[in-house]
């Protein structure tokens, strides 16, 4: 199925939850509402024409004002792909989880939470995955400032800290 047919099908079913569609780019994408992601994902997986059974990747983005989540989907049986995007404000970064639809998303969402601070609502086990549990902040945000030390271990080298102070 072509991207614009997929968009049409979603638009018919979810109307207002489908916010935008762009096919003038290398890989066409559909923007959807963050609080409907789980329903849309379930439809994408279970619909007979779509059958998106494989979640390639779930990425997080810092867009300045907002945070973004990007889902790259592929259908093994139908051999077609689509990109789904969603945006949430930085002060309330709530996205519905899709970890029960594609189990791949379980760890990918934990990674996005850990490094970008996106809160996946209803995720069964939303813990940090790569960083220590008591780490402060989310490093992949553009405005991230590392904590000075962690359990007495300095996080920056001596020279770097002095540079920071000069600036």
């Amino acid at each position: 199925m072509e991207a614009k047919d997929i968009h049409q099908k979603l638009k018919d079913k979810f109307q207002d939850a489908i916010l935008d569609f762009n096919e003038e780019v290398l890989q066409p994408y559909i923007v959807v509402a963050a609080d409907k992601v789980d329903e849309i994902a379930e439809f994408l997986r279970d619909d007979d024409d779509l059958q998106f059974d494989y979640l390639n990747s779930l990425s997080s983005l810092d867009l300045g004002e907002n945070l973004g989540v990007v889902y790259h989907l592929y259908s093994m049986s139908k051999d077609h792909k689509i990109v789904i995007k969603t945006e949430v404000p930085k002060d309330k970064p709530d996205v519905k989880t899709v970890s029960h639809i594609w189990r791949t998303a379980d760890w990918h969402e934990r990674e996005a939470y850990d490094l970008m601070g996106i809160n996946f609502v209803n995720h069964p086990d939303l813990r940090r995955i790569l960083l220590p549990d008591d780490w402060e902040g989310h490093p992949l945000r553009k405005d991230y400032v590392p904590q000075k030390s962690w359990h007495g271990i300095p996080t920056t080298l001596k020279g770097e800290t002095e540079d920071d102070e000069q600036q």
């Binding site: 780019v25 290398l26 890989q27 059974d53 494989y54 979640l55 390639n56 990747s57 990425s59 997080s60 983005l61 810092d62 990007v70 790259h72 093994m76 051999d79 990109v83 594609w102 189990r103 791949t104 379980d106 760890w107 990918h108 490094l115 940090r128 995955i129 790569l130 960083l131 220590p132 490093p139 992949l140």
Partner: protein, 388 residues
Amino acid sequence: MTNSNNFPEARYELVNPDPLKTDEYILNMGPQHPSTHGVLRVLLKTDGEIVESATPYIGYLHRTFEKHAEHMTWPQIVPYVDRMDYLASMNNDLGYALAVEKLMGLEVNERAQYLRVIVAELNRIASHLVYFGTYGLDVGAFTPFLYAFRERERIVDLFEEISGARLLYNYIWIGGVAFDAPEGWLDKVAEFCDYFEPRIKEYNDLLSYNKIFIERTANVGVIPADLAINYGLSGPSLRGSGVKFDLRKNDPYCIYDRFDFDICYGTGEKGTLGDTWDRYFVRIQEMVESVKIIRQALKQIPDGDAKETVPKNVRVPKGEIYFRSETPRGELGYYIVSDGGKNPVRVKVRAPAFSNLSIIPAIAPGLMVADLVAVLGSLDIVLGEIDR
């Protein structure tokens, strides 16, 4: 009768008089454990020898690659991607270079394309050889390890000659390769193919069809195809479950559509479809296919300047791309966002071993601890790319 050992009389009573009742035992496997292939900790709850639950804890090798990438120029990132999957650096480089080239709309010199395929497939063989050797170690066979490293050494020598490095090559650059092949190098590759192909029979005699090995691996850790797809498994770990899916065939990139080779997949030959033996044997067969590809590439490779299309300044227009390629471990995806500047805005890596490992909590319950070692080994994880 007197007690000749002079043991004092017991001064306690057994609290739990039922001799068969056991407690749940919590066992930390790793972070330093030979079968975890790096620094992975798996927290096991066991009932005797049986695993009740297994929770992997990762992040010990986290080097903030994605943050680093946002502060570096496009070509500077290549040496960093080398260090993700350090057993298949060439394949990592290839994926990154192809992603950026696609974003730039850059056509790469023909000779460079063929050199890329040759080194990528050699690296696939080298990586599978490490797998073959260490998997033998995991299940208690020491000898195959020595055979595997004997052959791998020759590949590493070939890489040293063409790139100057033995493990982290920084060889495939955006727009081409770092160096053209030195004189006579291609002949040496052909020589290696002739030398290597008969060895695979040796491996099969030694390990694949070894009765003890089959007993240890067949019918253990079965992953059904739908579960594998739902967990995002890829590469040989997915194909072991009988899914005939290889990105080199199903979504061809680079020049893989010019070669004639087969997709190897599990058939349940020695046990159940999708068991550890299937996943193991897919990799052995893939080495044969890689040799096939290399032989064809050697025949077709044209003359020319392999560095012709390497740009002096890499300018990437505004845009984004998700590019996936088949590494020895599976689908390596790069999600790259560019705003037209000198540095990328975001480089997200979808590491194959990251998703492959995430299935462990689902298949571990009910296994013996020793079988869990066999299952972990069969997924061929590299912690460098899981933690990035």
